[in-house]
Symmetry: D2
Subunit: 208 residues, 4 copies
């Protein structure tokens, strides 16, 4: 019995569905994650291009949009265990080019840009409160990496009871095996998987 | 370049180390996860036996011990998105046999038993506060499943800046591919991996 | 210049308003807070009677209802700093009569009963997630004490961006000076004040 | 029976005590709270001077120091219910002079400066995690206002099981009645009260 059969037998992998008031969450698509010598590589650049298109639709349909950036203090005063595991993260400071949202996705007025230091977009941030303020019931997740900050954010999004959609071609990772393994885990337990095209169609339909 | 090379090149996978005041966190080793027809299977039973031995050492060395149980309200009033993905979870109610800690690990007086409804042992619980009260700096994680509640708890433990150790033979999963994939992710980014024997030796040494 | 003038001059005390999807939150109306020899006294009993009436309206209009109870572990394993300040709290255990919701307000099927150990109904609980699941945008707060767990819960409710209403005659305290002082603070900075009658009229209107 | 007698009779007002690894938390001593036409007045300036002296001792004894600033996005994208109650808060943006720590307390290298948008220094921030990283067991609180962000931060500090000390002459408020009322509430239920001189003596003793 392979793993999918085990999950099906135990009743995992059901759809949690799409609500009525979605928001788009774009995780860590900053310059440092587009450079394969820093934190990038794999299918991240492709996921940015897919997200660019979905972002245009989200703006056209006036859905709320939030971005995360990894931002540590210039003097390292807030670097913790995560920076012991991956010391390069501490270089992502407020004004470092590596910690700026990529040009293809530059936030516009009214979009929420979150500074974070931990994997989850929710940990130590006001994201949950911002989603409440916007009456959001569904979080559409793109970003990177699938096996890192996307996965952590998806767990928290679901834990806060937002219906959570992972945009399969809008999330990317530096390595493909973890990308695939984490899509499997998330679909079985935390989120529904949809392509950017399916999501764009759905939010366009909702906006009408 | 395989995934390990990519992570090494980008500076992941360093040791975050062991502190001086560890606690043992035992995630979801309840009856429902020992039954392959419910949520169990794979190497979970073996991980319980390994944890039984480590728990004896933790007790002998007077380290704090916490357990989690999944507990939903009898009337389903707190069932949310997680129960849409995996409806069987809602059967884990306060008095259900499936939601009781397994006999081999029965908590003793003064050990902290946490009710939770979400993957992470920290989400919607007082675990972080309990660890602060005990002046813990290092969280030793056993439990199940590696790819589910263990992984989610490890991310939060690290995010709260507890040095976090995944006990490789004390965590189990219903399926081996996700078990292995999640050990890889956790070691690269969130936690150090140690065997139960290595952890037992370390906490014995610290207690002297 | 008295304090109200100072607050007005600095622009505090505006109305945050009433949304469209309210929930009723009933804080710590358990037996131990109806006994003046334990944690009760003052206007708490009167506030319970007022809440009884408002609860009937909330049920009739099918608004979500949540209750909190203070519940510590039988063995004191989760007693922390709060129990150093007020040791009597640790007696509020799962089955203690003092920690049961008062008879006048007995929860019915589907209402959410939250165990908590800290002042705020949100701290270490899944209340925020439950409110998200119900698409709530407005939290109506009754309970006790005004200067304790009500105030703490109101701060968190507002911090999560729920529009928050303190039901002035549905909250009670063991002593009147703190009751009044905390109503002042909450109105100036965190919540709107309304009587139970005003709230009942509003939710009846919304339900139509 | 006055309120103090009621609290004593019910067992409130005990000392939670001083631990071994304190940190100093300085809440919202930014320029906007020194100006009586904006958010200042009362005894805030005096509390800043007292804090200046205590900060010197905390630095000399090498205790961790954290500051909070209120910081909203320039475009108001993260303004929520708090800004409905007090619209002037939204002017406290990253580069606004009003949101900079006052000159008398300028943070030095390695001190942690927290951006926050809600009353509590813990809400939507990494303060709890930073305190864990520093193995802190006791939080010494100065700042403003006593009845606002100090009180909210103290509740959360205690809820996370940090022993919490309110420095009575290091906290200030724009109006004296709320200042006094909130010191009463905090001493009875959440924190011990000490003067800056008492705290300085204690941390000097601990450092030896």
């Amino acid at each position: 019995m392979d793993e999918l059969e085990i999950y099906q037998k135990q009743g995992f992998g059901n759809q949690s569905g799409f609500g009525e008031r979605p928001a788009l969450l774009i995780v860590d698509f900053v310059n440092g994650f587009t450079d394969a010598d820093q934190f990038g590589g794999g299918n991240i650049d492709a996921a940015i291009q897919t997200t660019k298109s979905l972002l245009a639709t989200a703006r056209a349909t006036q859905n709320p949009v939030a971005f995360t950036r990894v931002v540590y203090a210039d003097d390292g005063s807030d670097a913790g265990v995560f920076c012991l595991k991956a010391p390069g993260l501490a270089a992502l400071t407020e004004d470092a080019p590596a910690s700026q949202v990529v040009d293809d996705l530059t936030p516009v007025h009214g979009e929420y840009v979150i500074r974070k230091t931990q994997p989850s977009a929710f940990f130590g941030t006001n994201l949950a409160a911002w989603l409440v303020a916007k009456s959001v019931d569904t979080v559409l997740v793109t970003g990177c990496t699938t096996s890192g900050c996307v996965r952590a954010s998806v767990i928290d999004s679901m834990s806060y009871n937002f219906r959570t959609i992972v945009v399969t071609d809008g999330v990317g990772d530096r390595a493909m095996a973890p990308h695939e393994a984490n899509l499997f885990d998330m679909e079985q337990k935390y989120a529904d998987l949809m392509t950017a095209e399916e999501v764009a169609a759905k939010i366009t339909e909702l906006a009408q």
